[in-house]
Subunit: 238 residues, 6 copies
Amino acid sequence: MMNNKNIKIGVIIPNIGMTLEEMEIRRRHLLRVCHPNTSVFLVKNEFGPKSIESQVEHEQASVEIVKQAVLLEREGFDVLIPWCGGDPGVIACREAVKIPVVGPLQSSCVIASTLGYRFGVITPLFKNIKLVEQRIWNLKFHHFLAKVRSVDIPVLELRKDLFILLETLTKLIKIMIKEDGADVIVMTCMGFFGLPEELMKRVPIPIIDPGWAAIKMAETYAHMKLAHSKYTYAFPEK
Amino acid sequence: MMNNKNIKIGVIIPNIGMTLEEMEIRRRHLLRVCHPNTSVFLVKNEFGPKSIESQVEHEQASVEIVKQAVLLEREGFDVLIPWCGGDPGVIACREAVKIPVVGPLQSSCVIASTLGYRFGVITPLFKNIKLVEQRIWNLKFHHFLAKVRSVDIPVLELRKDLFILLETLTKLIKIMIKEDGADVIVMTCMGFFGLPEELMKRVPIPIIDPGWAAIKMAETYAHMKLAHSKYTYAFPEK
Amino acid sequence: MMNNKNIKIGVIIPNIGMTLEEMEIRRRHLLRVCHPNTSVFLVKNEFGPKSIESQVEHEQASVEIVKQAVLLEREGFDVLIPWCGGDPGVIACREAVKIPVVGPLQSSCVIASTLGYRFGVITPLFKNIKLVEQRIWNLKFHHFLAKVRSVDIPVLELRKDLFILLETLTKLIKIMIKEDGADVIVMTCMGFFGLPEELMKRVPIPIIDPGWAAIKMAETYAHMKLAHSKYTYAFPEK
Amino acid sequence: MMNNKNIKIGVIIPNIGMTLEEMEIRRRHLLRVCHPNTSVFLVKNEFGPKSIESQVEHEQASVEIVKQAVLLEREGFDVLIPWCGGDPGVIACREAVKIPVVGPLQSSCVIASTLGYRFGVITPLFKNIKLVEQRIWNLKFHHFLAKVRSVDIPVLELRKDLFILLETLTKLIKIMIKEDGADVIVMTCMGFFGLPEELMKRVPIPIIDPGWAAIKMAETYAHMKLAHSKYTYAFPEK
Amino acid sequence: MMNNKNIKIGVIIPNIGMTLEEMEIRRRHLLRVCHPNTSVFLVKNEFGPKSIESQVEHEQASVEIVKQAVLLEREGFDVLIPWCGGDPGVIACREAVKIPVVGPLQSSCVIASTLGYRFGVITPLFKNIKLVEQRIWNLKFHHFLAKVRSVDIPVLELRKDLFILLETLTKLIKIMIKEDGADVIVMTCMGFFGLPEELMKRVPIPIIDPGWAAIKMAETYAHMKLAHSKYTYAFPEK
Amino acid sequence: MMNNKNIKIGVIIPNIGMTLEEMEIRRRHLLRVCHPNTSVFLVKNEFGPKSIESQVEHEQASVEIVKQAVLLEREGFDVLIPWCGGDPGVIACREAVKIPVVGPLQSSCVIASTLGYRFGVITPLFKNIKLVEQRIWNLKFHHFLAKVRSVDIPVLELRKDLFILLETLTKLIKIMIKEDGADVIVMTCMGFFGLPEELMKRVPIPIIDPGWAAIKMAETYAHMKLAHSKYTYAFPEK
């Protein structure tokens, strides 16, 4: 009767500059919400952009993520998570492999949609706001969207001073509650991982950790034996 | 680093006719996908309808579910799940208590929305099709809806012959794939619990078990420390 | 050729605290816009909340409204109106009885939708704004919605000083015209009855009296011999 | 306290071929659902199309309807109704005069939207189906639309054999219930006046008489003292 | 292989006050973006309004435009463009003739929709903002709409001082970029012709010239041999 | 006054298998609708998929298209067109270069949206139907969509027997008119180029040639001096 299922989750890191130490910090963060029999492996791509802040980089990353996904499926992974808050490679991977592939942005949106009426979205750069709006639209969660706002900090500088980042986010979220009517917050960058837990002590609304959203969705798929239908996500030609 | 969190999930049974044995079968089914430190308790309401097949019964059930929810919160439960595929009492409970309250229908829809482009919905009775369509609309998942269909069997007779039910569902789902373009199936009645696992061996698309969807969402909320914002779901007057 | 039809309209009061005198004031207000052969009876529920300011109270009221509706149908009423601007019991009653059941909020929205391009909505409490937005969505009138705003006064204190309330509403409506682009106003609380007539002398846009909207819709149903189809609102099991 | 208001409703006939006898039959039909103090006058335009079955004729009729509306307002009418199921001249008249102007199609749609979940629409000619769909969209009632179907009979021949027309409509509505899921019927031609009463004896769903819908909406506006805001429908230049 | 097609485009001027000189200025402006084998003829209606600033004038103009269109088709024109930013007569003409009929507003919207995520719309008069919003809705481009704003200058005075107009528009567009998030601008009045070219030197986003949008769409239809289907835009009765 | 502008359009071929002869046939086809001063150059990518029939191949192609676009911009091209009916690389190129980048699918949809009420879409493979539906959604043209259908022939075999293909398409389009209510046809594969001209002799509705739609949109952008705003499509990091 008990759930002793061993699950092997592969987290694909598309940003080639991430250090092993940084990867270990993320792995530990993810394990904090997992089933004890869940193993989490972070695998970094060899090629790709340093950070993903445009559609150009998104698609560059996507191509490499798909290659990685095919390898990881062969190695017996049960679920895959591309580690990026814009969901690069998610649709393509669902075609290329049979195991389920989690979109961190998609997972964050679906959880957020159950917690309130309108979620606000925070993205690192101001220049990406319209791109993010379009992604929420593509996911068909636009009816839940209050507004997309940014802290206007490049992805690679986000975590340079976590204290200042927390202050900035706290102020921003208070504005989003008051002016945009946001009652839940979604963060479209994995660089914000770990902060929602802290932020929820400072503001009165739920905030989705994109890493945790992804890992819990991965476990949900695996424990429920769900995968993306090949009827929908047909195999590519070759 | 490991997740040793003990979680106590309360499942509220609004159908007063359910036997202790039936409840135990459902509890065991739920535990099959849980974290080992998750405890699941099923609690039956004293008053309410035998089954919930109308808005009238939905609201009768709701009032009793809210009362039960307030008691269970006091007893230290971490998350609550009203056991009905129409989500009775879910909004009201989110007002009445501080702990998160899971909607099995809502949970099924959000998971389904990530697995394909259009989900079909199966409800027991033909006469409820329009009511169910309206509920999908209210949840703002109408853009994902292929079509609602029914097996036209009353809730209390659903599980009388599981073999026939499986046959009926298999045929119906094949029609939904072909004629409605459904690529995922959502089942709006808890009476279908356990069958998706079996059905997925017979049809090539993912099918959401409403019980498992609810229990995994419950764990997701609890492990991520999320609850419905009181800003959104304000306490009732008294 | 003339319309001599005698119509008996039952107005169900779910708020148990309303006095007989208050009920008579409302009855006289309603009669001011009726056909001379229309009789209006106000009937107060024995159980239920003092006021309805949450989904919890909404559903508590609903259960009692349905019981009352069944009794009134047996007594030969032609149309029923639950007296609440959130339309509690409206869907359930349409299942439970054969005679038409009017939603005051729904009636206000449909009339408002014909008078301009975007209506603003006023609700008593700030904390209910999101709940009201959701209700407009559920009714599928969201495309007509400018914005929901509140006077932030509890329902039971609304009419304590009608002079101040008129001042407050006048100011609020002027803001709604200018900032929200509202060109019609809907009021989601029966406690505002009688005020629209006065307000229309002060602001240049139409304002819907929820009581009058309901009673005119009741007459419309009755004179046109319309009722909610049992095909759509199927009888509950018992 | 009683409603003794005398209301003078002007019905503008844009079809220049209608005889005085035909007009009197329509007037008597309308009076059957009116308040005893309501007077109904039918006024025929001097110029315009014989029937309105295209956007070309719609706009030709509209120009004449506006001229008539300006004259009738000067003569002290309280409300105006252009007698056509496509609502020609309705928006223009709301600009040109201060008194309320009723759209029979709009009135039918709003009433239908309160009686079920999806209304089917019947229009005389097959070639007009897409035009009618567009009009339902323009009115923002597309979310309620099941499907538009036609009897494919020209407007001027519709009432030549009412017996056959009733048979044809009965069959069509049964198809609309079964195949389109329609639970209410809207008729976009005044030529169908009087038939819904008969049809409702033959099919189990409500059917809106466009003439009655318009006249009851006219009374609703007048008794509630509502008119279209000049803020929204600004006067034309001259 | 080369495209030597001679195309004759008829531009119908509904504003009876336009001088021959003004018409020639417009013709030259249009030719600046045409194929060398494209001929452009401007034809002024004999009757109609001086300017089109209301639905009343819109429909008055429409009736005359249709008459003109029928004549021009007989004279061998290949495409027609009613010269008004509100698209009067466009739908009616598509019924009345077989050759394609261009809507300047529709053409502007479709081009704008390909250049960014949300276009702002500028209309001459404040009082027309809601009417213009409704037209964008009717065209089904509402999802692309940032906001409609006006310079609040009557059409006939728009071009009295082009220098001031350019200043006013520059300021307005900067506000629309900043406050409304507009990334493209559509102008719903032909009176703005020629200004977008100038404005694009002052603001960093694309601005659609409604005249050029129409004439390029006209060439597109003609060169691609496309016309509006008579299946959709059926001939009027006579 | 005349338009003597020389325009240099670069058509990027992502399918590495296309022969020079096939490219020349396409170039000649495009020139048939161009301005005489428009030059069209077809440039084939060195790397990439043989055909694009999945999201995987779409993104592989996209990365190569962007590289090519950057080179072509440096060489002085005025507008670019990726030659694929799924619009790969279109959004990314709009970030990477300053000159306008045309989406053939987007161009086809916007032209189609002006010619009727609902367009049908034809795609080569059955397995791609849902992917194409999602793309129409992403472009926000879903309100115009009748239905997506396929001839179920792989892209590389489409033109093997043009006679049979024409027969197949003719039959399919007749079904789409009758069953789906399509009044315009969009073809989401460049492999269908040239056929619409032929098909329009056989069926009574307009059909968009995706190549011509793209080239006319390219000329429209260039002649109107329009480009995608860098405000919207921000440059990528490097």
